[in-house]
Protein backbone atom coordinates (compact mmCIF):
# COMPACT_ATOMS: atom_id res chain seq x y z
CA UNK A 1 0.00 0.00 0.00
CA UNK A 2 1.15 3.53 -0.77
CA UNK A 3 2.02 5.54 2.30
CA UNK A 4 1.64 9.32 2.71
CA UNK A 5 3.13 10.80 5.86
CA UNK A 6 2.50 14.27 7.29
CA UNK A 7 5.52 15.47 9.25
CA UNK A 8 6.09 18.41 11.57
CA UNK A 9 8.65 19.16 14.26
CA UNK A 10 6.74 17.76 17.21
CA UNK A 11 4.45 15.24 15.50
CA UNK A 12 1.58 16.59 17.62
CA UNK A 13 0.03 19.66 16.07
CA UNK A 14 0.22 20.62 12.43
CA UNK A 15 1.22 17.17 11.19
CA UNK A 16 -2.02 15.77 12.61
CA UNK A 17 -4.05 18.49 10.91
CA UNK A 18 -2.34 17.73 7.60
CA UNK A 19 -2.93 13.99 8.17
CA UNK A 20 -6.68 14.61 8.63
CA UNK A 21 -6.82 16.91 5.61
CA UNK A 22 -4.94 14.44 3.35
CA UNK A 23 -7.51 11.78 4.24
CA UNK A 24 -10.32 14.22 3.53
CA UNK A 25 -8.85 15.22 0.16
CA UNK A 26 -8.16 11.60 -0.85
CA UNK A 27 -11.82 10.86 -0.08
CA UNK A 28 -13.00 13.80 -2.17
CA UNK A 29 -10.77 12.74 -5.05
CA UNK A 30 -11.96 9.14 -4.75
CA UNK A 31 -8.41 7.84 -4.36
CA UNK A 32 -8.07 4.67 -2.28
CA UNK A 33 -5.15 2.47 -1.31
CA UNK A 34 -3.25 5.10 0.63
CA UNK A 35 -2.20 4.64 4.24
CA UNK A 36 -1.95 8.11 5.84
CA UNK A 37 -0.13 8.82 9.10
CA UNK A 38 1.70 11.64 10.87
CA UNK A 39 4.99 11.80 12.76
CA UNK A 40 7.67 14.11 14.10
CA UNK A 41 10.62 14.95 11.92
CA UNK A 42 13.14 13.22 14.19
CA UNK A 43 11.49 9.82 13.95
CA UNK A 44 11.18 9.63 10.16
CA UNK A 45 13.78 8.04 7.87
CA UNK A 46 14.06 7.91 4.13
CA UNK A 47 11.88 5.09 2.84
CA UNK A 48 9.30 5.29 5.63
CA UNK A 49 6.75 6.76 3.24
CA UNK A 50 6.14 7.18 -0.49
CA UNK A 51 5.44 10.90 -0.05
CA UNK A 52 6.22 13.11 2.92
CA UNK A 53 4.11 16.28 3.40
CA UNK A 54 5.72 19.13 5.34
CA UNK A 55 5.19 22.82 6.00
CA UNK A 56 7.65 25.10 4.24
CA UNK A 57 9.60 25.88 7.41
CA UNK A 58 10.89 22.35 7.76
CA UNK A 59 11.23 21.73 4.02
CA UNK A 60 15.00 21.99 4.16
CA UNK A 61 15.34 19.68 7.17
CA UNK A 62 13.10 17.12 5.45
CA UNK A 63 14.97 17.17 2.15
CA UNK A 64 16.58 13.75 2.53
CA UNK A 65 13.30 11.94 3.16
CA UNK A 66 12.55 11.12 -0.47
CA UNK A 67 9.47 12.50 -2.26
CA UNK A 68 8.90 15.60 -0.11
CA UNK A 69 5.79 17.70 -0.77
CA UNK A 70 6.09 21.23 0.65
CA UNK A 71 2.90 23.04 1.73
CA UNK A 72 2.70 26.84 1.91
CA UNK A 73 -0.24 26.57 4.29
CA UNK A 74 -1.19 23.70 6.58
CA UNK A 75 -4.90 24.54 6.38
CA UNK A 76 -5.33 25.43 2.70
CA UNK A 77 -7.42 22.57 1.33
CA UNK A 78 -7.20 23.92 -2.22
CA UNK A 79 -3.42 23.74 -2.21
CA UNK A 80 -3.44 20.34 -0.53
CA UNK A 81 -5.98 18.95 -3.03
CA UNK A 82 -3.67 19.85 -5.92
CA UNK A 83 -0.53 18.51 -4.27
CA UNK A 84 -2.16 15.26 -3.09
CA UNK A 85 -3.52 14.69 -6.60
CA UNK A 86 -0.03 15.20 -8.07
CA UNK A 87 1.54 12.85 -5.50
CA UNK A 88 -1.12 10.22 -6.20
CA UNK A 89 -0.31 10.48 -9.91
CA UNK A 90 3.44 10.21 -9.28
CA UNK A 91 2.91 7.04 -7.29
CA UNK A 92 0.69 5.43 -9.89
CA UNK A 93 -2.60 5.69 -8.00
CA UNK A 94 -4.30 7.66 -10.78
CA UNK A 95 -3.68 8.14 -14.50
Amino acid sequence: MTKFLAVCSTGLGSSFMVHMNIEKVLGELGIGGVDVDHADLGSVSRGDADAVFVGRDIAEAAQGLGDVVVLDSIIDLGELRGKVAEAARRHGLTD
Partner: protein, 150 residues
Protein backbone atom coordinates in the same frame (compact mmCIF):
# COMPACT_ATOMS: atom_id res chain seq x y z
CA UNK B 1 -15.69 18.91 21.12
CA UNK B 2 -14.04 22.27 20.43
CA UNK B 3 -16.02 24.22 23.02
CA UNK B 4 -15.21 21.53 25.61
CA UNK B 5 -11.68 22.87 25.46
CA UNK B 6 -12.22 26.43 24.26
CA UNK B 7 -14.45 27.90 26.97
CA UNK B 8 -15.12 31.59 27.66
CA UNK B 9 -12.00 32.03 29.77
CA UNK B 10 -9.84 30.44 27.06
CA UNK B 11 -10.76 32.99 24.38
CA UNK B 12 -8.69 36.16 24.67
CA UNK B 13 -8.43 39.41 22.74
CA UNK B 14 -5.52 41.84 22.81
CA UNK B 15 -4.52 45.04 21.04
CA UNK B 16 -1.16 46.64 20.35
CA UNK B 17 1.08 43.87 21.67
CA UNK B 18 4.82 44.54 21.59
CA UNK B 19 5.51 41.26 19.80
CA UNK B 20 5.08 37.50 19.53
CA UNK B 21 6.60 36.77 22.94
CA UNK B 22 3.83 38.79 24.59
CA UNK B 23 1.28 36.86 22.52
CA UNK B 24 2.66 33.50 23.69
CA UNK B 25 2.67 34.67 27.32
CA UNK B 26 -0.93 35.89 27.04
CA UNK B 27 -2.37 32.90 25.20
CA UNK B 28 -0.73 30.58 27.78
CA UNK B 29 -2.24 32.47 30.69
CA UNK B 30 -5.57 30.62 31.12
CA UNK B 31 -3.76 27.25 30.98
CA UNK B 32 -1.13 28.36 33.45
CA UNK B 33 -3.70 29.88 35.83
CA UNK B 34 -5.72 26.64 35.83
CA UNK B 35 -2.66 24.45 36.29
CA UNK B 36 -3.05 22.71 32.91
CA UNK B 37 0.57 23.56 32.15
CA UNK B 38 3.67 24.45 34.12
CA UNK B 39 5.71 27.60 33.53
CA UNK B 40 8.34 25.46 31.77
CA UNK B 41 5.87 24.77 28.95
CA UNK B 42 5.54 28.49 28.14
CA UNK B 43 9.34 28.80 28.12
CA UNK B 44 9.63 25.74 25.85
CA UNK B 45 7.22 27.28 23.30
CA UNK B 46 9.08 30.59 23.36
CA UNK B 47 12.48 28.91 23.02
CA UNK B 48 11.25 26.77 20.14
CA UNK B 49 9.91 29.80 18.23
CA UNK B 50 13.05 31.84 18.98
CA UNK B 51 15.12 28.95 17.60
CA UNK B 52 13.31 29.23 14.26
CA UNK B 53 10.10 27.35 15.02
CA UNK B 54 7.87 29.37 12.73
CA UNK B 55 6.48 26.03 11.49
CA UNK B 56 3.66 26.67 13.95
CA UNK B 57 2.37 29.19 11.35
CA UNK B 58 -0.60 27.37 9.82
CA UNK B 59 -1.19 30.02 7.16
CA UNK B 60 -3.84 32.78 6.91
CA UNK B 61 -2.30 34.55 9.93
CA UNK B 62 -3.06 31.68 12.30
CA UNK B 63 -0.46 29.98 14.51
CA UNK B 64 -0.71 26.84 16.64
CA UNK B 65 1.76 27.24 19.49
CA UNK B 66 2.73 24.03 21.24
CA UNK B 67 5.65 22.06 22.65
CA UNK B 68 6.16 18.42 23.66
CA UNK B 69 4.06 16.97 26.55
CA UNK B 70 7.19 16.33 28.63
CA UNK B 71 7.93 20.06 28.73
CA UNK B 72 5.28 20.62 31.37
CA UNK B 73 1.77 19.59 30.33
CA UNK B 74 -0.45 18.53 33.25
CA UNK B 75 -3.78 18.24 31.42
CA UNK B 76 -4.74 18.54 27.77
CA UNK B 77 -5.96 22.06 27.10
CA UNK B 78 -6.42 24.64 24.37
CA UNK B 79 -6.70 28.44 24.33
CA UNK B 80 -6.92 31.17 21.68
CA UNK B 81 -5.81 34.78 21.43
CA UNK B 82 -6.86 37.32 18.80
CA UNK B 83 -4.17 39.96 18.27
CA UNK B 84 -4.81 43.32 16.59
CA UNK B 85 -2.77 44.39 14.73
CA UNK B 86 -0.94 41.18 13.82
CA UNK B 87 2.48 40.46 15.37
CA UNK B 88 5.42 38.92 13.54
CA UNK B 89 6.12 35.36 14.63
CA UNK B 90 9.84 34.98 15.35
CA UNK B 91 10.11 38.65 14.29
CA UNK B 92 9.96 37.44 10.68
CA UNK B 93 8.03 39.66 8.21
CA UNK B 94 6.76 36.59 6.32
CA UNK B 95 4.95 35.30 9.43
CA UNK B 96 2.35 37.91 10.54
CA UNK B 97 -0.04 36.27 13.02
CA UNK B 98 -3.41 37.61 14.15
CA UNK B 99 -4.80 34.48 15.82
CA UNK B 100 -2.74 32.33 18.18
CA UNK B 101 -3.89 28.97 19.49
CA UNK B 102 -2.03 27.39 22.38
CA UNK B 103 -2.19 23.61 22.44
CA UNK B 104 -1.10 21.64 25.50
CA UNK B 105 -1.30 17.92 24.73
CA UNK B 106 -0.86 15.63 27.74
CA UNK B 107 0.00 12.69 25.48
CA UNK B 108 0.04 11.91 21.79
CA UNK B 109 -3.66 10.99 21.51
CA UNK B 110 -5.89 12.80 24.04
CA UNK B 111 -5.94 16.03 22.03
CA UNK B 112 -6.63 14.51 18.65
CA UNK B 113 -10.42 14.88 18.58
CA UNK B 114 -10.24 18.57 19.48
CA UNK B 115 -7.42 19.15 17.03
CA UNK B 116 -9.34 17.35 14.28
CA UNK B 117 -12.35 19.64 14.85
CA UNK B 118 -10.10 22.68 14.89
CA UNK B 119 -8.32 21.59 11.72
CA UNK B 120 -11.66 21.03 10.01
CA UNK B 121 -12.94 24.45 11.08
CA UNK B 122 -9.78 26.25 9.96
CA UNK B 123 -9.75 24.46 6.61
CA UNK B 124 -13.23 25.77 5.83
CA UNK B 125 -12.84 29.15 4.09
CA UNK B 126 -15.97 30.82 5.44
CA UNK B 127 -15.66 29.43 8.99
CA UNK B 128 -12.01 30.50 9.11
CA UNK B 129 -12.86 34.01 7.93
CA UNK B 130 -15.63 34.33 10.52
CA UNK B 131 -13.30 33.12 13.24
CA UNK B 132 -10.54 35.54 12.24
CA UNK B 133 -13.08 38.37 12.22
CA UNK B 134 -14.35 37.65 15.75
CA UNK B 135 -14.06 40.66 18.04
CA UNK B 136 -15.28 39.25 21.32
CA UNK B 137 -15.79 36.01 23.22
CA UNK B 138 -19.43 35.67 22.20
CA UNK B 139 -18.59 36.08 18.52
CA UNK B 140 -15.77 33.55 18.72
CA UNK B 141 -17.90 31.04 20.61
CA UNK B 142 -20.65 31.34 18.01
CA UNK B 143 -18.24 30.33 15.24
CA UNK B 144 -16.74 27.49 17.30
CA UNK B 145 -20.18 26.17 18.22
CA UNK B 146 -21.41 26.36 14.63
CA UNK B 147 -18.26 24.46 13.64
CA UNK B 148 -19.19 21.63 15.98
CA UNK B 149 -22.65 21.11 14.61
CA UNK B 150 -21.69 21.02 10.95
Amino acid sequence: MLTTHLRDEDLLFAEDLAGWRDAIELVSHPLLARGDIERAYVDAMIESIAAGGTYIDLGYGIALAHARPEHGVVRTALSALWVRPAVLLGDEPEHPISLFFCLAAADSSSHLAALASLGELLSDDSARESLLAAHDTAGALAVLTAGETR
